[in-house]
Symmetry: C2
């Protein structure tokens, strides 16, 4: 795949592995976001869910699953974890609602997210961000089965 390189990120230019590259990038970028949310005691994944639930109270797990392309059982467990922390009301099956504590946390997370996402966009530059958007659009139109 990429023989004989010194200890360096694997960035072979041609015919690189799409899945491998995506997963590596996700690890790197997730790490950066996780650092930023650590002060609030949440991971990026958790913060993201909280922000979705804040933006759309009562949303169902099934809808979040489709939007985020996370398997329903994974979503179920993510949701249970948030609930265990007291951020969700206990009527999970009737739609997801944040507790007051959850709403406050979601707001703080959104503040952090907004600043960080801007920072990262600036750091990477327009070309990079556009590149990812183009790739992303093609995946949605060409790789996803139905909707």
């Amino acid at each position: 795949m990429n023989p004989e390189q010194p200890p360096q990120p694997d960035k072979s230019p041609d015919s690189y592995c799409i899945a491998g590259r995506l997963r590596m990038l996700a690890r790197v970028v997730t790490g950066r976001y996780n650092e930023a949310f650590a002060a609030e005691g949440v991971t990026f994944a958790q913060a993201g869910l909280l922000m979705h639930m804040f933006a759309q109270p009562g949303i169902r797990q099934a809808e979040l699953s489709k939007r985020l392309q996370i398997e329903k059982s994974a979503m179920s467990r993510d949701v249970q974890l948030l609930q265990k922390n007291g951020w969700l009301t206990d009527n999970l099956r009737n739609g997801l609602y944040l507790t007051e504590e959850g709403r406050l946390l979601a707001k703080r997370c959104h503040k952090i997210w907004k600043a960080l996402n801007e920072q990262v966009r600036t750091d990477l530059g327009t070309d990079a961000v556009d590149g990812l958007r183009v790739f992303s659009d093609h995946v949605f139109t060409k790789l996803l089965p139905n909707q």
Copy 2:
């Protein structure tokens, strides 16, 4: 973040979340690769490691960690899993070597990978693949600390 959309992948065009998007893409694309490797009884992550070890026998965990940007403890466990399946010799600490069975599997995986990766590139198109490459290059130069 993305209020009021019907059950659809979250593809809000402007100011989308870099980390969220990357993670979603990684989930989607990983799924596709995992399907392809399922016949061999391995995941994409495992197949990738096997191919690296095949291409560079004796490579150390530390080097793979840096190349793939996987935390060393995660790498340690991934390696132990491969060994448990009889694909690695037992001298893990002196570099990673495939068993004969491991080498054969790695070759079959490479065949699958090569065809699939080409297929995905074709499906997505040059624009998309270039877009990801550009993004990726910027992450390596701007987001990774040292090397």
